[in-house]
């Protein structure tokens, strides 16, 4: 356990070190080359903006995060539910599953303006866009997880007279968990994108709105502070999922199950 933690820290050390080196290079380059902060502010100025204007940033960050998490949760619950239906209904599997897979090709973000027309500029549009793009990878990954049962395991359960219900809860569900977590990792990223894009298009609040506003005012440090705040939030949300995955999918040696369908 101890060596595991140490290995993890060592592994984490490299990307952190490289990030810090790049930030330092950025800082030095901007100062030495005399680049104006309206074009590219140095990291120190961005951090300064984050500290000084944290109230403004947080005021816009919360609604975005709230919608992201809500949209993500709806996608997870809905995605798993639809995956179960697809698994057990051959009509749905044959009819809907190909459509879901094909719909992956459509750039769903392009529907954002249409959602504004239908649902107005409020939170509803943002939420629905987040769900629209986060839902599909969740469904596809979960369905894959429920269906990728080893035929031998299924047979084994049948010889011991396992019912469909038992086979679902004791075999299909645990078997699907690694796939579900892969889906969740893709979905959380997409939920953030959905919310931000819809805030770009039309909104009076949210971090996407703030980024656009700051851009319009040529307040580049604020804009980049907002982007940084959003990135950090995204990392934290992703990290929470990885943490939950490590606890839940304890039987897997590595978390290299990330090869699932993307959005």
């Amino acid at each position: 356990m101890f060596t595991k933690t140490r290995n993890f820290l060592v592994e984490l050390g490299w990307p952190i070190g490289i990030s810090l080196a790049m930030l330092a290079l950025w800082e030095v380059a901007v100062r030495e080359l005399g680049i104006r902060s309206i074009i590219l502010p140095p990291p120190s100025e961005i951090i300064d903006a984050m500290i000084r204007r944290h109230e403004l940033l947080l005021a816009h960050l919360w609604p975005s995060l709230y919608l992201t998490v809500l949209g993500f949760a709806l996608s997870v619950v809905g995605g798993i539910a639809v995956a179960v239906l697809i698994t057990y209904s051959s009509i749905l599997r044959k009819g809907f599953y190909p459509l879901i897979v094909v719909s992956q090709v459509i750039p769903k973000i392009s529907i954002a303006p249409l959602f504004i027309v239908w649902f107005g500029t409020g939170t509803m549009s943002s939420l629905l866009l987040a769900v629209l793009i986060a839902f599909f990878p969740m469904t596809i990954n979960s369905a894959l997880g429920f269906q990728s049962i080893d035929e031998d395991i299924h047979r084994m359960a049948r010889t011991f007279m396992g019912t469909r219900w038992q086979i679902f809860w004791k075999i299909r569900m645990p078997n699907a968990l690694p796939y579900i977590f892969s889906g969740m990792k893709i979905s959380i990223t997409l939920a953030i994108i959905g919310v931000i894009v819809s805030e770009f298009v039309a909104s009076q609040e949210g971090i996407g709105y703030l980024i656009k506003l700051a851009g319009g005012l040529l307040d580049t440090p604020l804009m980049m502070a907002a982007i940084a705040a959003l990135s950090i939030s995204g990392l934290i949300l992703y990290g929470l999922i990885v943490l939950a995955e490590k606890r839940t999918v304890y039987w897997q040696m590595t978390t290299d199950a990330d090869g699932g369908a993307g959005g």
Binding site: M156, R158, F160, M161, G162, T163, Q166, M253
Partner: protein, 280 residues
């Protein structure tokens, strides 16, 4: 005594290794635990199994020996109630097999353990599915694991075990609910040759302590001869039983017996029977 049984007893009696042991004879005369009569299986037009009939007595160890793809696993899966037969009768303790039933335990070619369960929880899995009291069977599970010499690994996950240990765990799982028939579908074929011989000895030891009727499907002639009371040789075209041979070697059997002339005689005869089946 039906005519078929009498015929097989007579055939057994004229084997060069003279008469059958008293043990064998007693087994043959008690009512059969498993009865297979004129069973046929068609996959569309393809005849996977043709007219297979045999009886298995209580506590008898019978191997079905044949080349890959001869339908021996299909036959076993029909006995397990996992595959429907096209024609014929299969009955266990006098009742026809129409689906899986609790007096049967199955060991598959792969251990098929659930990776998220510990070895102990895997062994107890049938108890959960059969809705029996887990608490009552924990003791038995630990005893079985001890008999299979893997009780130290009871609380480990399957991935922490070697292939042979996993297959031992799966044998414990098949025995947990105390079935009267143990069906084994090439259980050691995924193991290396050395582990495989060891597992054969282990299986006999477990079987000796825990007398069950065993149907053991294999494509290894030596394995069949070493383990069984009786070997049924299955041929490929037609997919049916072409030879039946009683293995009258003393028990308990040891690895060293594989060097004996009497053992090798059986191996030669079985090989000849299989080769004759290929000519058809």
């Amino acid at each position: 005594m039906n005519s078929r049984l009498r015929a097989s007893v007579m055939r057994a009696a004229i084997l060069p290794t003279d008469t059958m042991s008293a043990e064998n004879l007693r087994q043959r005369l008690s009512p059969p635990v498993l009865r297979i009569k004129a069973v046929r299986k068609l996959y569309r037009e393809l005849e996977a199994i043709r007219n297979v009939s045999f009886d298995v007595a209580a506590c008898e160890f019978v191997s079905v020996l044949g080349p890959s793809g001869c339908g021996k696993s299909t036959l076993l899966m029909m006995v397990a109630g996992l595959i429907d037969k096209t024609d014929g009768e299969i009955s266990i303790n006098g009742t026809p097999v129409i689906g899986p039933r609790p007096e049967v335990g199955v060991v598959f070619q792969q251990p098929v353990l659930l990776p998220w369960r510990t070895v102990l929880d895997n062994v107890l899995f049938p108890i959960e599915l059969l809705k029996l009291s887990r608490a009552k069977y924990v003791q038995r599970a630990m005893e079985l694991l001890a008999m299979a010499k893997i009780d130290d690994f009871a609380h480990r996950l399957p991935r922490q075990l070697s292939g042979g240990m996993r297959q031992r765990a799966s044998i414990c799982r098949a025995l947990i609910h105390d079935p009267s028939i143990l069906l084994m579908d090439e259980p050691f074929s995924a193991l290396d040759a050395i582990t495989r011989d060891e597992m054969g000895v282990e299986l006999l030891r477990i079987w000796q302590a825990n007398r069950k009727t065993v149907i053991f499907v294999t494509h290894s002639i030596r394995e069949a001869a070493f383990l069984s009371d009786r070997v049924l040789v299955m041929g490929r075209r037609p997919a049916t039983i072409i030879e039946e041979m009683v293995i009258d070697l003393p028990r308990p059997r040891h690895i060293a017996m594989m060097e004996d002339e009497s053992f090798n005689q059986y191996v030669r005869k079985l090989r000849k029977a299989i080769e004759a089946g290929h000519v058809h």
